[in-house]
């Protein structure tokens, strides 16, 4: 967070004797910084010669908080990290715990997890497209995007009761089964969504103003992208063929048929195209997941970890005891450490979890894709115009809740 200006390396690029040069503090309340990001921009006229991101305005000590909460309580914290992709955070966290426990998750729960992760990815991309377009000056796109996102949030609300903070995935399975009529509502969304994508393509993709604002801006090469640790659409926009859903598969992604969109230019336009094409792929996966939904259990067979059904608790003494113990004391996870990476909507979301045998984790670390992607902002924006910095931030699709944690 804010540091005394004279201590920051790179300041010497500013030649105070030149009248054309100045320092501009952009943010933290700037609307185009997608939250509370502050940029220290050293400018020569309108040209950016140095960009220094300043983060930490939203730091709430979540990683510290994990160490004081039981494993099942930690899920609630993950919702608040990347608040545009809460189900992805839930998934990474619960899968890390399940990996330590060696739990087997039933088929239906796995399919529902994939279904919701892909719906959430579309929702996250809708917010990205809307705000990115808003930043660049196309206001109406925002309303169309949020209409689609609203439909997905309604689906998530129907299943979990929460819109922005679902906490739907639990260690060992799901909170509860899908409500009656969910599949019909989901299919309805499925049918409408492709038409909405057509609207976006007409509004944005073919728009020459949009093209001239995004093409050739904020270029990063494939090698640089790997060096800076970029993942997700930002990496695939630079021509690197990497998608953890295919390359380090989890939750049964290896059995789904989908393509990994690649663009080679490495500019804002390439990242835009990758995300747009990903929406179609997610749409395909949602359709396959809906076809695979079969009745079955949604919780793993592990009575000491998974909360029993209400009905069981009324009939069986041991279910009641297990319920009491899990809620009052939590469950122990054997000592060990794991790193669980998933492909979230913004890139590799990795959870490092270390247990020393108790009901609370010893250490939980979130490798947020936004955190790493933002660290490459200076390379992309130096040498560009101030107005292009806004376009580049939009193309990185950052969420400060995840960066500051």
């Amino acid at each position: 967070m804010s540091t005394a200006v004279e201590n920051i390396p790179g300041l010497d690029v500013l030649d105070q004797s030149l009248e054309s040069q100045m320092t501009l503090s952009m943010g933290p309340q700037h609307p185009s910084t997608h939250g509370v990001l502050r940029l220290d921009l050293r400018l020569d006229g309108e040209l950016v010669i140095k960009a220094i991101p300043d983060i930490g305005y939203l730091h709430t000590g979540m990683e510290k908080l994990f160490e004081y909460k039981k494993y099942q309580q930690g899920i609630v914290i993950t919702d608040r990290m990347d608040y545009l992709n809460p189900l992805g955070n839930n998934l990474a966290y619960v899968m890390a715990a399940e990996k330590l426990l060696d739990l087997e998750i039933p088929q239906r729960a796995q399919v529902i997890r994939v279904l919701f992760c892909e719906l959430q990815r579309i929702a996250s991309h809708m917010v990205w497209l809307g705000t990115h377009a808003l930043d660049i000056g196309a206001m109406s796109v925002f309303f169309y995007c949020f209409r689609q996102r609203e439909k997905i949030l309604n689906l998530i609300e129907a299943a979990s009761g929460g819109r922005m903070t679902p906490s739907y995935f639990r260690i060992g399975g799901l909170m509860m089964d899908l409500p009656a009529g969910f599949e019909r509502r989901c299919k309805q969304f499925q049918d409408d969504f492709l038409e909405a994508m057509n609207t976006f393509e007409t509004l944005v993709t073919g728009n020459t103003l949009w093209q001239s604002r995004t093409m050739g801006i904020g270029v990063i090469s494939g090698e640089d992208a790997i060096d800076w640790g970029l993942t997700g659409p930002c990496l695939r926009g630079s021509g690197v063929d990497l998608d953890l859903r295919r390359d380090n598969p989890y939750t049964g992604y290896e059995t789904y048929d989908f393509n990994v969109p690649i663009e080679t230019d490495g500019d804002v336009w390439a990242r835009f195209r990758v995300r747009m094409r990903e929406c179609y792929e997610s749409h395909k996966i949602v359709r396959q997941a809906l076809e695979r939904l079969r009745p079955g259990p949604i919780k793993a067979d592990a009575p000491k970890v998974v909360l029993p059904d209400r009905d069981d608790m009324r009939k069986h003494m041991d279910s009641l005891i297990h319920h009491f113990l899990i809620v009052a004391e939590g469950f122990n996870i054997p000592a060990g450490e794991v790193y669980m990476p998933i492909e979230a909507s913004k890139g590799e979301l990795g959870v490092y979890m270390k247990s020393n045998g108790g009901p609370k984790p010893d250490r939980v670390h979130f490798r947020g894709p936004s955190f790493v992607n933002l660290s490459a902002l200076p390379v992309m924006s130096e040498g560009e115009m101030v107005a292009d910095v806004v376009a580049i931030i939009g193309s990185l699709d950052i969420v400060l809740g995840e960066i500051d944690r």
Binding site: I8, I55, L65, G229, N248, V338, Y352
Partner: protein
């Protein structure tokens, strides 16, 4: 598959590997502090671990020695394997060489680890706090740092 890389490490220089821990399909190699640059260079240039997926610190508690650990999660964009390197540091001397010359992404990760644990990365180009304010007292993720802090922090 992962043990192959460990065997290659051992064959290259036996002193590079202090201990190997396997579990949950992952391999952790505990590396002496002095060798971390050599090990990372070897793995990056000859074994294809071209990406540093994550770097994070850990605190085993004030009574432990060595107290701190730094975890390097290496990833290959070519063969998609992951390897965890771990460096153990004592409380009196929490210094380790920076890996920013190998991976630029280590810059912010190391700043975060410095900020929250007080681990000092020697040779880092810009080692200052990243999440907490520059005049913050203490390192918040250490086990002996209270959850609610020492006193309410006010920004001036």
């Amino acid at each position: 598959m992962l043990m192959e890389f460990v065997e290659k490490l051992k064959a290259e220089n036996a002193a590079w590997v202090t201990e190997v821990v396997e579990g949950h399909g992952e391999v952790t190699v505990i590396v002496p502090r002095e060798s971390i640059i050599d090990v990372c260079t070897f793995l990056k240039t000859t074994q294809g671990f071209d990406m540093l997926a994550d770097l994070c610190g850990g605190d085993r508690g004030p009574e432990e020695d060595p107290r701190f650990e730094v975890n390097y999660h290496l990833f290959s964009t070519k063969h998609h394997n992951r390897l965890r390197l771990k460096v153990l540091l004592s409380e009196d001397d929490p210094h380790v060489a920076t890996v920013t010359p190998l991976w630029k992404t280590a810059d912010w990760h190391e700043r975060e680890t410095f900020d929250l644990f007080g681990v000092i990365f020697d040779g880092h180009p810009d080692l200052r706090r990243i999440l907490l304010p520059s005049d913050f007292d203490g390192h918040a993720l250490r086990k002996d740092y209270p959850l609610r802090g020492y006193e309410p922090y006010s920004m001036n």
